[in-house]
Structure formats: C-alpha cells, structure tokens
Amino acid sequence: MENYLILNTLNFPILSTLLILPVIGAIVAMFLRGDTMLKYWGLAVTLVTALASLPLWSSFDQTTAKYQFVELRHWFPALHLDYVLGVDGISVLLVLLTTLIMPLCILCSWTYIKTRWKEFVIVTLLMETAMLGVFLSLNTVLFYIFWEGMLVPMYLIIAIWGGARKDYASIKFFLYTFAGSIFLLVAIIAMYITTGTFFIPELMDHSFGFSYQMWIFSACAIGFAIKMPMFPFHTWLPAAHVEAPVAGSVILASILLKMGGYGFLRFCLPMAPAATAYCMPFMIVMSLVSIIVGGYLALGQSDIKKLIAYSSVGHMGFVTLGIFLLNDAGIKGAMLQMLNHGVTTGALFILIGIIYERTHSREIADNSKLGMFMPIYVTFLGIFSLSSLAFPGTNSFVSEFLVLYGAFDKFPLVGAVSILGAILAAAYMLRLLQKMVWDDSDGHVHHGHDDHEGGESHALFDCNAREFIQLAFLTVFVFWIGLHPTPLLDMMDSSVTHLLHQIDAGSIVPEAVKHGESHALLENAGAWIKNLF
C-alpha cells in the first residue's frame, strides 16, 4: 500500500485538520447566540480552514504522481477498511478551490440570508467537511460516505432558505443525485467483492476484465454524469440553482459540479481504462450535445439564474469533452476548466445574489440599464461575463483553449463542433451583459457624451465593501490563471501523465473488442451476474 503514498511530513495532520475544523466550528456554533456573532464565527472558521489548506499549495511536491500528505489509520481491519486521506495533482487544486470558495459563501449570504443563521452556519460548515472529504478520501467507502453526506446539507440549504419552489427543487435535487449515487455504491461493492480492497490506488492498478470494466464504467458514469451534469441528466440543475439561495448556488456551481469531473478522473478512467477507451466516442458525443444544448438553452432564458445554470451545463460539457479526449491537453484543460468554472460561475452567482437583494427579481428585463447606477457592479459583471465566454487573457480562455487544442489534435471535427458551443457562449453572455448594462429603451440621446448620472434618484446602490472584496478576490484568479496558468498546470502535470499512462496500459483490451468481439459483452454480462451470486 505504501508504494502509492507519501506520508504527511508537515508537523500537523493537515488533511484531517481540514476535515475536522468545520465540524468543530459547527459544534461550537450550536452554542452561540446572535446572528452577527454567528456570521463572524462562520466567516472565521471558513477563513481558518482556508489558511490551514495553504500548505497544500506551498509544500506540494510536483514531481511525483503519488498521493501526498497522506494520513493512514486502520479502521475496520476485518474489512480491510482504512481511514486514508491523501491528495495528488488531480485533487489538490479542487481542495484549495473548496476551502477558498467557502468564506465567500458566508460573505455573500451576509444580508441575503435573513432567518436561522445558526442553522445556516452549521449546515454550511458541515457541507464544507463533506465536500473536502470527497476530494481527500483514498478509500471508496470513505468517498461514498462523504459523497452521500453532501446531499443532506445541500438539501437543507435549498429547502430552508430557497425560493418559491424550494420544496420541488430540493426534493428533486436530492432524489436525482441520490439515484445516481446508488449505482456508484453498487460499483464500489462489486469491486470490493472482486478485489477485496476499498483502497482506490489498488483498485486503479487492478486490471479487470473488459466486460466487468464496462459495468463498472457504466455504473460510475451514471452517477458522475448526473452530478456533472451531463445531458440528458441535467434537468435537476436549473431547478436547484434557481431556487437555491445565493450561497447554495455558489456551492453548487463552484464545487458540487466538480465532483462529477473528479469522479470521472478518479474512478472511470483509471479503474476502467479499456471501457473508457471503448466508450470514448459516445462520451464525446454526449459532451458535445451538452455544450451545444446547454448553450442553446441558456440563450432562451429570461431568468438570469437559469441562464447561468444552463451555461454551466455547457461549460461542464467542455470538462467531459476534455476528459474523454484522453490526451494531455484535454485532461489538463478539463481540470483547469473545473477550477475556472468554479471561480467564474461562482462569481456570477454572487453577482446575481447582489442584484437580487436590490431589485428582488431575477428577470433580465427587471435588471436592465444598471450601467448608469452601478458602475462597479457592471465592471465586475463585464469581467466575469468575458471570463465565462473565454475571452483571451481570462482564466476560461486557457482551459477552453487547451480542450479545443486537445480536440483538434485528436478529432478536428469535434473541435469544430465545440467551437460552435463557444460562439453560443458568447451569444448568451453578451445578450445578458448587453441587456443588463445598457438602457434598452430608445431615449432621445443624440449627444453621445450626455451625462446621465445625477438628478435621478434610484434605489440601486453600487457594491459595498463586502461585496467588492468577494468579487475582487475572484477577479484576481480570473487574471492570474488567464495570464500565468503554468504553476497550476505544473501541479497537475505528474498526476495527469501518470493517469494517461494508466489508461494507455489498460486500454489494450478493446483492440480485441474492436475486431468483432463486442457482442461478447452481453454474454459476459450474464456470466458476471451469475458469478456475483
């Protein structure tokens, strides 16, 4: 087991600390009184967690694909079930994304959430632990516990602080993603029965038979595709996004959706490489459909939140596309796209929350001509819209560029089709920007330099310091990743190379399948089920 691991050399158990801190924070929050106190407490705990996670960045060893900062405790020896935490180049950035986004979730709820602050802080902190647990677990059971553990706090966030149709949206979210996870559980148990281990790196190295791989792949892929969400499993997302409070939307967009992509990289690709190679065309086609349909649907929306929700479908389509291109540029692009989507779409949801607090409407038409009244807000809206449509110099450009490059490198036609998606992205984001910023009515303005400000009183006031800090913080990442992505890509490098090596080594099998043995799949399936009992 130790072949895969580098034990933690820091003088404190960093990964367990990250998991425990929010839980302790939540327990303490139970005994606190007063909304203001709770707000500051929530902020403090998330900030401390974020600070505690920073050594992951500074002490990360880029030269190895092994899991680092590992903590290993025996848990249920009889089942070979251990408490193993660790990060590699694939998960470390997602962990950092999570810890850095969470303080913003508290900040953006500061005045948005008006009731039950105690519960809100507790639920948000528990959510943080669950999400971090997913990225940190090196054990399938632990992974699954955290995976399902995320559902409850998220359900509560939507169901308690959500909008008008919160009951519908929260139950839908819960059932939909829960249904997907069931398949994942089946796969986890099936793999344990075959191999006798829950340890993820060992499962990766185990070479399963082809048809077995197909079953594993399908079971995992459904769970992850729902989480992603990939067309046609995406319908829970707009409902959940629209009804969730601003923090819920940010968590959903920035972190929860990344679980799907992470799952693909952690489970499907290395554990079922032959099946991955076999299913690649199908997954690529579905990714393209997600990109195009997501963009198209976004174009048809009049509700800002729905528009951004559908745009997420399109952006995550780029992630799955990159992943299933199975080349270096594609996978790196996909991973970077996950981070970028977390930054950019998170910021867009914060922006929507800000405007919703002022106008109490999410309709584009009710939020027009903001340019006159909220110049700072509009500036940020412009920056993040440009980032969302992958304008050169912003973060998304780098990731979409890498994915497109990977696509053109492998299948030029796929690249050409996904470029259409990029055009759609420009169309819907610019439509949003144009309608929100400018006055749509045709006033009598022939002197282009007329000064509109002053004189007119309006309830719209510009961003305050708290809102400014959140947006400015994310803006730093937009340009940092956009202009100098190399440090991030270097962090991924060893792990991605290792992953590609795993896929290459494991995907020799389908050569036989390609030559007329694919029908054996169903026969094998029958035999496999018999063996199971």
């Binding site: 198209y296 048809g300 055009i423």
Partner: protein
C-alpha cells in the same frame, strides 16, 4: 521578458486605458488623452526588430516583430489614435475613450504579432473593445447592432482559431509568415476566411454597414480606421498573391460603391465606402506583386486618414444637429464652414484628386493591376473610383453643406478639439499628396512609381471631370422635382445613372437578405428553437421524471390504504394468503 512587454506600444494604450478613470478624477483626462497616443507615436520609431518572445502553454509566442510592412501600419495606427483622441477630447465618459484605446491596442498587437496565437488574442480584444464604441451611443438600435456586430466577430474569431489549430497540427509551427498560394492548405484557407471577415469582404461584410453608422461619433472615427486595415495588414503579410483575394477585392470596390451611391444616411454612405476602399487594398494584396502590396499598404495609410476625416466631418454634423440623413440636412455651410472645408478635403482625397493622398496611393494599385495584365480588374477599380467621386466627393458634401433645400437648422461650429483633430487629418491628406515620398519611403518595398505623370493626371481629370459634369447636369435637370425631402431621396437613387437603379433592386435585395440573415433567420430562429428546447426540457424530460416520481407516490398511497390497522384483518389476510400459496404449491 518583462521589460519587453513594456516596450510594446499596445501596453501603453492598455495601461493608459486602465488609468483613464483615474485621470478623469484628477481632472487631467484631456492631457492624458493626448499624451499617451503621442508617446506611442514616438515610441514606435524605436522598436527593435524582435521582442517579447514568450513561452505560453508550450507555444512560442512572439509579441513583437517589426519590419517595413509593420512600420507603415504602426505609423498610421498610432497617428490615427492621436487624431481620434484629440477629436474626442470633449467627451467626458472615460469608458468610451478606454474602449477606443483598448481597441487600438488590439490593432497594434495584431500588427506586431509574430505568431497566429498572439494575433488571435489581440484579434478578440479588438472585437470586444470596439463593440463598446457602438454601445456607448446608448440607443436601442445601437445596442442591437453592437450585439450583432460582436456575434459576427466572435464567429469570425473562432473560425480563425479553428484554422490556427488545424494549421498547428500540420506543421507544429505557429509563426505567422507569408504563405504561398501554390502550397496553401485547407487550414490556411480557413485562417484566410477569418481574416476576410474583418476585412468586410462580401458576402461576410454586412456587419460593417450595420454597426458603424450606429456607433458614437468618436466611435465611428476609430472604427473606420482599425478593424478593416488590420485585416488588410494580416492578409498582406500572410496571403499576398492569392488570386481569390484579387477578384474579391475588385468586386468589393464596386459593391461598396453601389450601396454608397444609393444610401441616404451619411455615415452609412461612408461605411459602404470602407467596403469599397478596402476592396482596393484586398485587390492589391491579391495581385501580390511588390508594387501591388506597396499600393495596398500606401492606400491603407491614406485611406485611414481621409476616411477618418470624413467620419469626423459627418460626425461633427451629427454631434451638433443630431442628424445624419442627407435628406434631413442641407445648407449648413453658413454655420459650420470649418467642418465643411475639412469634409470636402476628405471627399476629394478619397476620390483621388491630384495633390491629395488618395491620388498617390490608389493609382499604384490600379497601375499594378495593369502591369499584371489584369484589364478587367483595372477597369473595375477605375469604375469604382468614378462611383466614389460621385457619392463622397460630390453627393455627400453637396447635400450636407449646400444642397437644394435648407434644413432650417442653425448649428454652432464644432468644438475646438474637433477642429484640431480634423485639421491634422486634412493636413496629412494634402501633405501626402504633395510629398508622396514621405509615404513611399515607409512602404515595404522600394517604390519605382511616379504618380504625377501627364498621362495619369489627364486620365484622372478626365474621369473626375466627366463624373462631376454628369452630376451637375442631372442635378439641374432634377431640381424642379425637388419639392420635399422625399424627392431628394428619390433623386439620388434614380438620377445619377441607370446602374444605380439596377443595383438597387436585385443587389439591394440580396444585400438586405444577407445582412438580415443572421438577424431574422439566425437570431430569431435560434431564440425560437432555444425556447422550444427549453420547453421540452421542462415539459418533456422533466415531465417523464416527475411523472414517474408521482407514480411511485401514488402507488404508495394506494398500498397504504390496504392498511386498516385492525389486527384481525391482517391475520385473516395472512391466513388467506398462506392458503392460496398452499393450494398453488399442492396443485403444481
């Protein structure tokens, strides 16, 4: 590397644009607006041949590559930025100036780029910055036109990006060098199409007359200079000698003129003239000889100045009166004499009058066509020159400043800064006409061409004189019918020549169709389909899912009703069940 980034003139404009709001707060915006372009204009003379080499994601990028072809474009771009900024000094909105400067930065960045990826980055910057120059007009039509403009350019940019990816795959080399027409690959043709979109080559030109007339006054001045000319530069750099460009360029010259002649809105006329004039340059690039490429570069230089001058003149009228339709203007010479003089200078320059910049540049391209025995091309270019003089040289100034009707407005003369901007451009138009050597020395190849030959002068005067005479005759002839502005409208569509009438019906229809195709078919259809898809999403897929969930709940409810809570009934039911099972087992 860090220092070489600051060497880039685009950096100066980008930083300048970012600091503009601050300058506005400190009340030094006007000084800042002159200072930055002036410094850039000086700076370009001290650029090394190669700088700003960066490795990015494993690609070798070159932000600065300077040679003769670059210099001439850099020179005119920075000069134009200075003129435009001075012209717009009175505009208080920092945002509009910042957009203009970012736009200039995009153009300079493209011009200096040594590889395709850098071109793409600045290409996008150009498109996204310039759209704000349209949106700042803040009218519904402008906002919609800007949106369409940006969509078309995003599309063009991504076509370019696709071509670049394909090109990279072929040779794993991104450097932007001349491509031979004999060995050009599909990828390179795709790149060329991406460039052609920005050069407004029909049928992908409709964005230009759609958006430019809707821009702000200073926006149009900037836009007329940079997008198309940057495209001419990249075409000249990469695709010189492509026959397709020669033919398309010649068509462009006539195409633009046709529409310019029948248009009513002054800024639409000028916009169509950009298509026409850029046609000369594209044609020159397509001919591809040293002289033709020289001509294209020289014409780009001259064109930027006189077209900007014309846009400034017409923009002045729009600024002071709020009108730009010829049918609503007339008799303004009494009130705005300075603007009138400058517009007329721009008009004669674009028409290629001797002693103006148009004469020394346009003639080079036509002569290059003749040298290559392209007689038809040469005739097309000459014919377009006639149309140009008719529409911009005569019609435009006539109906704005003189005209048969008096519009009744008594506008003031424009602000001083606008006069300064126009006077610099006007000075350059005349200066280049008198001292062509100044421009010729900047051109990429040595110039062996003398514009002021007796034959050439006679030919020009003959063409111009004939056109002017024809206009004079028809103007007199039609004057009695001139009872209202509507008649005026009818006059210039009908009166000038028979080909205008012909152009209007078949060609205008197709043009309208082409320019509306992305609006009517594209946008509306897309939105309708998007709505339909959305409906299917919520009502179709969701209905199935929600339906199955409801089904489960319903059947659960029904099962629940079996439970009465009375123990006897349960025992009875269990006994009955056991009995039935037993019977089944025994019988089988």
């Amino acid at each position: 590397m860090t220092s070489s980034i600051f060497m880039h003139p685009a950096t100066m404009f980008i930083i300048g644009a970012l600091l503009l709001p601050l300058a506005n707060k400190l009340k030094i915006q006007k000084i800042w607006l002159v200072l930055v372009p002036l410094l850039a204009f000086i700076q370009i003379h001290y650029l090394p041949e190669s700088f700003g080499r960066v490795e990015w994601l494993g690609f070798d990028l070159q932000f600065g590559r300077v040679d003769q072809l670059t210099v001439v474009f850099l020179h005119v771009f920075t000069l134009m930025a200075l003129i435009g900024s001075i012209f717009g000094l009175h505009v208080k909105e920092s945002g509009q100036h910042a957009a203009a400067w970012l736009y200039v930065a995009g153009s300079l960045g493209t011009t200096l780029a040594g590889d395709y990826l850098t071109i793409f980055i600045f290409w996008e910057l150009m498109a996204f910055a310039s759209v704000f120059l349209v949106w700042y007009r803040k009218r519904r039509r402008s906002i919609e036109a800007g949106y369409r403009y940006l969509l078309v350019h995003t599309f063009g940019g991504l076509v370019l990006l696709g071509g670049i990816f394909l090109h990279y795959q072929n040779g794993h080399d991104l450097s932007f060098v001349a491509i031979s027409p004999d060995t050009a690959t599909l990828a390179q043709y795709i790149i060329m199409v991406g460039f052609m979109l920005n050069a407004a080559v029909p049928p992908i030109h409709a964005w230009l007359p759609d958006a430019y007339p809707e821009a702000t006054v200073i926006g149009a001045v900037f836009m007329c200079a940079f997008t198309t000319k940057t495209a001419v530069y990249v075409l000249a750099r990469g695709f010189a000698g492509f026959e397709a460009l020669m033919i398309l360029g010649a068509i462009m010259t006539l195409y633009g003129v046709f529409y310019a002649v029948i248009e009513n809105d002054a800024r639409r006329i000028l916009a169509y003239h950009i298509v026409s004039q850029v046609g000369y340059m594209v044609c020159g690039v397509g001919i591809g000889t040293e002289m033709a490429v020289n001509g294209a570069a020289a014409h780009a230089y001259a064109h930027i100045l006189y077209k900007a001058l014309l846009f400034m003149g017409v923009g002045s009228v729009l600024e002071m009166t709020g009108r730009s339709k010829l049918s609503e203007l007339g008799g303004l010479y009494k009130y705005m004499p300075v603007s009138m003089v400058f517009t007329v200078i721009g008009g004669i320059a674009i028409s290629g009058f001797p002693l103006t910049s148009g004469f020394i540049s346009k003639s080079m391209i036509i002569a290059a066509a003749a040298e290559e025995q392209q007689i038809i091309i040469m005739l097309m270019l000459s014919l377009a020159a006639v149309g140009t003089f008719l529409s911009v040289g005569i019609k435009l100034p006539y109906y704005i400043w003189f005209g048969p009707n008096d519009c009744g407005l008594k506008p003031k003369e424009v602000y001083w800064n606008m006069k300064v901007g126009m006077s610099i451009a006007a000075f350059m138009c005349i200066f280049l006409g008198i001292f062509p050597g100044y421009l010729y020395n900047m051109l990429p190849y040595a110039v062996h061409w003398h514009p002021y030959t007796a034959h050439h002068l006679a030919e020009t005067f003959y063409l111009l004189g004939f056109t002017g005479f024809a206009f004079y005759l028809m103007s007199k002839y039609l004057k009695p019918h001139d009872v209202s502005n509507l008649d005026l409208d009818w006059f210039y569509r009908r009166g000038a020549d028979w080909f205008m009438w012909l152009a209007r019906h078949p060609v205008n229809a197709s043009n309208e169709w082409v320019s509306n195709v992305y609006q009517n078919v594209g946008l509306r259809f897309t939105r309708a389909t998007a709505k339909a898809l959305s409906w299917f999403d919520w009502e179709g897929i969701d209905w199935a899912l929600d339906g199955s969930a409801r089904g489960v709940v319903k059947s659960g409810d029904q099962v629940r009703q079996f439970q009465t809570g009375k123990l006897q009934q349960y025992i009875g039911a269990a006994a009955a069940l056991i009995f039935i099972v037993l019977i089944v087992v025994v019988l089988i």
